[in-house]
Amino acid sequence: MTGAPVSRRLRGLVFWSGIAMLCVWVLAPIYLIALGAFGGRAGVFRWPKSLMPWDTTLAAMQAFLAVDGVWAAALNGALVAGLTMLFSLLLGAPAGYALARYAFAGQSAFRMLVVLTRAFPLAILALPLTVTFIRVGLYDTAVGVALVHTALALPFAALVSSSLFMGIPRELEEAAWVFGCTGFQAFRKIVLPLALPGLAAAAIFAFVISWNEVFAASVLTVRNKTLTAYLLTVLAESPLHFRFAGGFLLILPSVVFMFAVRKYLFAMWGVANR
């Protein structure tokens, strides 16, 4: 008689403890970094650590933002990430549309190939890429880094947009054709508006991938570094609380972006209703 409520309570317990674990998993490191970033020199080296945000100070943050080149690097990073977003969408969305709408020979092989690009270790590509980029004049440019980042983000963009387009019934397009649309008009008036939220999410994801990528960005640039690559070189020689400040600054845009598009991310995974 008490079986049902007990099992329900147990399920609730498992559910909420799982949620709590996930939250701790993600939030605890972010919190600790924030603590380090705003705790000042004393806070970082104090032991035992205080987990409470007492005596916070913006000193480390301010000092960090005043470091020569941080703002330029941030701007450069945003430019690279923006270009990555643009490239991966312009190349990935049509590829996804083709995968979703047309049956062609070697389709599944193509699908596999798209994913396989991620299997190439960037470290092996670094040297030949550098040589090639120097030769064609892409070395140390935002476009060059964005191209490499696009290669990283593209599989994701193509596969996500293909499943997006697959989720849009073909009949909607056909209805548009029957009622007077050309193929392109039907795409613009019907398919695009319906896919837009998902495409935006894929674009943001490409942005975040680029923003966080450090290896290619470090190898392929000298003066025009992205923020991530710049911090890597600068922070290695900085005091600990500076590093925390830098780390926090790196996390911030990603978190803000994720938060802003969370609705669309859920739509992308098919959680949200149509």
Binding site: E171, E174, A175, F179, G180
Partner: protein, 353 residues
């Protein structure tokens, strides 16, 4: 002025022939139903008329104009899809207005036409809503209104009622009939539901394996099926097919005999369940296996000399499983079928007698 001429249309998917040299003439303003089981090619034919599918061979003419190579938008038709295909990101008003806007109609014209079409389908209260907030039946109405708003010369419908529940389907069916008759559009309506086809259409084309088996008025189709397939597909319960030996120009089985225009051998008698009278003796021997009271009739399922048969008896008939009855089919309503070819032998000689 928009009759449809389908001239020897063929469609192959790889090695599979979906349509074989199919020809059909639909008169201006006529309502034709394409009826058949799934996979018979009816939807393929409709999509070829619409231009959504390219035929392998043959021509399509609409209103005398050859549209075989034209894209859908230039064929001057409207279509209602099975899953409605109502645009989810537009209000009902914009959905209904879509075709008119694409034609570049003025706002005033759009307004008049949308109001007219939505009035016909009784969707005025929902014009500002989004389709997600509508029920299946309401979405169906939006889809029909969208098609009627452009005042199409040709209207194509692909199983438009099949996603509705039974009661709503019945209601929509009679409503559709009056609305479509008033619109005057030449209509091609695809369905696998024979009551829908019979109830709505001026003529019904029964399709089977990529060919039209028979095309005729619903009543003629029911009473005089040209093939065994048509008799079995049209009508519920399906027609009974009883094989009988023929000798000397008469088919005999049990105590039953009827003149038939067939040579010696076997002939198949196609008999409708309701064309059979139950008597005490003589006629066809019938062993009852199952009795199903359906309200209007008592449906008996059993065997005539080992062959499956169904009889629609009066609802108050006192019959129980295991009974042996004698059946007297109405001779003038029997359809005689050649068991080899499956084609009917033409008018039964019994009708003349």
């Amino acid at each position: 002025m928009a009759g449809i001429t389908i001239d020897r249309i063929e469609k192959r998917f790889g090695a599979v022939a979906a349509l074989r040299e199919l020809s059909l003439e639909v008169a201006d303003g006529e309502f034709i139903a394409l009826l058949g089981p799934s996979g018979c090619g009816k939807t393929t034919l409709l999509r070829i008329i619409a231009g959504l599918e390219q035929q392998t061979a043959g021509r399509i003419r609409i209103g005398g104009r050859d549209v075989s190579a034209l894209p859908p938008r230039e064929r001057g038709l409207a279509m209602v899809f099975q899953n409605y295909a109502v645009f989810p990101h537009m209000t009902v008003y914009e959905n209904v207005a879509f075709g008119l806007r694409m034609k570049g109609a003025s706002d005033a014209d759009v307004k008049t036409q949308v109001e007219r079409a939505s009035g016909l389908l009784h969707i005025e209260p929902y014009l500002e809503r989004y389709p997600a907030k509508l029920s299946g039946g309401q979405r169906q109405r939006v889809a029909v209104a969208r098609a009627l708003a452009v005042q199409p010369a040709v209207l194509l419908m692909d199983e438009p009622l099949s996603n509705l529940d039974a009661l709503l389907r019945l209601e929509m069916r009679s409503e559709l009939k009056s609305v479509l008759a008033a619109s005057g559009a030449t209509t091609v309506y695809v369905t696998h539901d024979q009551t829908e086809a019979m109830g709505l259409a001026d003529r019904v084309a029964v399709m089977h394996e990529g060919v039209i088996e028979q095309i005729d008025r619903p009543q003629a189709l029911y009473e005089r099926p040209a093939t065994r397939f048509v008799g079995g597909f049209v009508g519920s319960p399906p027609m009974n097919f009883i094989d009988m030996p023929v000798s000397g120009g008469a088919a005999r089985l049990g105590a039953f005999s009827s003149p038939v225009a067939a040579g010696d051998g076997l002939v198949t008698a196609g008999i409708r369940a309701e064309d059979i009278a139950i008597s005490d003796s003589g006629g066809l021997p019938f062993d009852v296996v199952v009795c199903e009271p359906l309200g209007a009739t008592l449906l008996l399922t059993g065997r005539i000399e080992g062959q499956l048969a169904r009889v629609a008896a009066r609802p108050d008939a006192r019959v129980r499983p295991g009974d042996r009855l004698s059946l007297s089919p109405a001779l003038d309503r029997i359809v005689w079928i050649d068991p080899q070819s499956g084609r009917s032998l033409g008018a039964s000689p019994g009708a003349a007698a």
